[in-house]
């Protein structure tokens, strides 16, 4: 069975903190994605990666960075968390055209 695991289900951080959201997949997929989901806005693509050490900006990369040092792990980094980054974050990996999602991390920035 395909598995995408996000390190935390719920996270509360303070404004200005550096935040790491981790995502691991066990399927040897090359493509991995980070989305954020907000009410009324659907899923918006933050960053994606199609290979180790490769990254591409999505539609809303501002305030975020990513790291892909190993094929199975794709990290989303909030350098200095702000309250407008409070959201549900979803990681996905892709085989062919089918995306497999993690369970999501609900991040609250206070």
């Amino acid at each position: 069975d395909v598995k995408v695991t996000q390190s935390s289900r719920y996270l509360v951080k303070r404004t200005g903190e550096k935040v790491f959201l981790e995502c691991v997949q066990d399927m040897d997929h090359e493509n991995m994605f980070w989305y954020r989901q907000d009410p009324g806005l659907g899923l918006r693509l933050i960053y994606f990666s199609y290979d180790v050490k490769m990254k591409e900006k999505g539609d809303i990369p501002e305030g975020y960075s990513v790291s892909r040092e190993k094929k199975e792990r794709f990290s989303l980094i909030l350098e200095s968390a702000s309250t407008n980054q409070t959201s549900m974050y979803l990681c996905a990996s892709l085989v062919g055209t089918e995306a497999f999602f993690g369970q999501g991390t609900r991040l609250t920035v206070v």
Partner: protein
């Protein structure tokens, strides 16, 4: 920017009725997919239709694609309470970059 846009944004039906959701997109696509999301969870892939296909079936799901109108529809027949979820269409453009719409929230009343 969002590629897909679902319509309606919310739908409430009685168990046993059919549910139809529509998706419109802006640019040419390789494939179109539909995903389901239970409340507060990750997304699960339902069905994929390729740009050269017009209709596809999977169990109680029927998907149509009209590339001339840049639109797709998802029909769920004989709905059940367990079908209550949000449904998203997703399109892939270059580099397998998958983008999602805002979603349709379906409620099936027992």
């Amino acid at each position: 920017s969002q590629q897909g846009e679902e319509d309606p944004q919310a739908l409430s039906i009685q168990e046993g009725e059919n549910a139809t959701m529509n998706c419109s997109y802006k640019t040419s696509i390789n494939n179109l997919q539909w995903y389901r999301q239970n409340s507060g969870r990750g997304l699960v892939h339902l069905i994929l239709i390729r740009s050269n296909e017009r209709e596809k079936h999977s169990g109680r799901l029927r998907v149509t694609l009209d590339t001339s109108k840049k639109s797709s529809s998802l029909l769920i027949t004989a709905s059940r309470a367990a079908d209550t979820a949000s449904y998203f269409c997703a399109t892939d453009r270059s580099y397998q970059k998958v983008t999602f719409g805002i979603g349709t929230k379906l409620q099936v009343i027992p």
